[in-house]
């Protein structure tokens, strides 16, 4: 029987991010943005023997592309962050059983990549993630369902319906997003000053 995730680091639906570790696999897929690329470098440093079986997908990783290329992965694909999903789909179309996936970077990159991997049918146990970079969150408005990227304050203004939303401590892996809920539904117009999201 499974046990609930520990609550000391957050609420039960929030994914735990841990340093990436190599696992036995037929092939590896590593995904990162610029902030996350250093986590891939650390993994490559610790287990260089993994790299000939590894495809690296870098989304707007800038100067980090060359550093990863120097680790000699079997393949390295660059994509703009906006094109993450189609680039990932193309790689998954060629994937075989036994794939292990490592994702590193912002909450937004991790949320999007993990949601796509799960939708493609990968088991959760074959996916690891490590958070690097800003604490900005990917949010879904529960009212109009608009997804907002890189939200750094609580409350924030929904770009879809314009409501002021607070960040509920609830996360959906399927959507790769936290839940945003109208903060002044009971008292329209009474919106507290936004505060920076810390983690």
């Amino acid at each position: 029987m499974s046990t609930p995730p520990p609550t000391s680091t957050g609420f039960a639906s929030r994914p735990l991010h841990a340093p990436l570790l190599a696992r036995p696999c037929t092939a590896a897929l590593m995904i990162a943005d610029e902030a996350g690329a250093s986590a891939l470098l650390a993994l490559a440093e610790a287990t260089p023997e993994l790299m000939p079986r590894t495809t690296v997908l870098l989304a707007d990783a800038g100067v980090m592309n060359a550093a990863l290329r120097a680790r000699a992965p079997a393949r390295l694909v660059e994509t703009p962050l906006a094109g993450l999903e189609p680039a990932l789909d193309a790689l998954l179309a060629e994937a075989r059983m036994g794939l292990q996936v490592h994702v590193a970077g912002s909450e937004g990159l991790i949320g999007r990549a993990v949601a796509r991997l799960l939708a493609a049918g990968l088991p959760l146990g074959a996916i690891q993630s490590e958070h690097r970079g800003s604490p900005a969150r990917r949010m879904q408005c529960v009212h109009c369902k608009t997804i907002a990227e890189d939200i750094t304050t609580d409350p924030y203004t929904c770009p879809g319906c314009g409501r002021a939303l607070y960040v509920r401590e609830h996360f959906s892996r399927r959507l790769g997003a936290f839940q945003g809920v109208c903060i002044d539904a009971e008292t329209p117009g009474e919106v507290p000053e936004p505060v920076e999201i810390q983690s």
């Binding site: 499974s2 609930p4 039960a12 879904q140 529960v142 409501r163 609830h170 892996r173």
Partner: protein, 346 residues
Amino acid sequence: MTLTFNKESFRGDYSYHNSPAAIRRFPFPFDRDEYMYSVNMEPHKGGRDGSVFQRRFDVDEHYVAEMEDRAITLARDPMRCQSLPHMRLAGWDLLELIMVSKSEDYPDLFQLTRDGDRWRWVNKPLGIDDTFTFLDDATLPHGPMEYITRQTQGDFAVLDQREGNLWMDAGMITSQADWSLDFDIGMNFFEWHAPVPRAAEMGIFQRALKFLMNVQVDTPARRLNWTMTVNPRLDTSPETYPEWGPEKRSLTPDNIGEKQYLRVELQTFWRLPRSNGLAFPIRCYLCSLQDIVTVPKWGRRLHRVIRDLPDDLATYKGFLVNKPLIVDYLARFDDGAPTSPGIWPD
């Protein structure tokens, strides 16, 4: 038995009302003068004559109006009913469970005739007479889960069981206490309970999950849960919070008895035989405070429970802001006399 179905609404003019008989059979959820979480499961194998526990799927005077309200909610937001592709068989399991149970428990209202895979279903209160082929989706106007739950009171979560956990992979959720199926679909038992305070630290979810994973076919279980709702509104979803949120602030000492409702969920748990899924109906009963206090024991007890409820639980249940008004109102019906054990009226 004869049932007359109320003409009433759960929105707008809120003409919902309970008859004296409906008040007497209201599933009052407190068996003592205090409340804390517990794994309060018991076998769902009937109960007192006339009580909501007597039949497998209780049908009451609100049936037709509740189904009309569900249709309104679905027309506005079709995502209240979703089923991940692997849950199709569980949907047929659920359809069979409900049709067999209702036709046996309420033969005057529902009839099921089976000739091999050819089934005829008659639902007299809703004026439905359909013939279809069991396990053939194309022969129904909706998927099997949606078809039967448009005809059955209560929300329905249909859970997949795998990897030592239960997964919220399908549901019909239009009368929920502030949770979103569209957000929670695909989550496991611990994930969808993440916003609940205290219970995880108390080990409630681990014990409840262990119990639920061992529910067997033909031995369903049940429990009661409760919250508070202003106005007799079924659709208190997060999606529509901007619509019902302002109503929470509309209580006054003069209108609270009429507008504040105790909302009780009769939750039942059924193992599904083909899919090994778990059906989790969440049936909502609403009773205004002024109707509750017509049963003196309930008035006394509800006052004591709400007065002594920790603030974090009142916050989670969404009524902390109204707690003082509620306690002041109920205090008028509490003379300090002792109450008898159990939930039933004296």
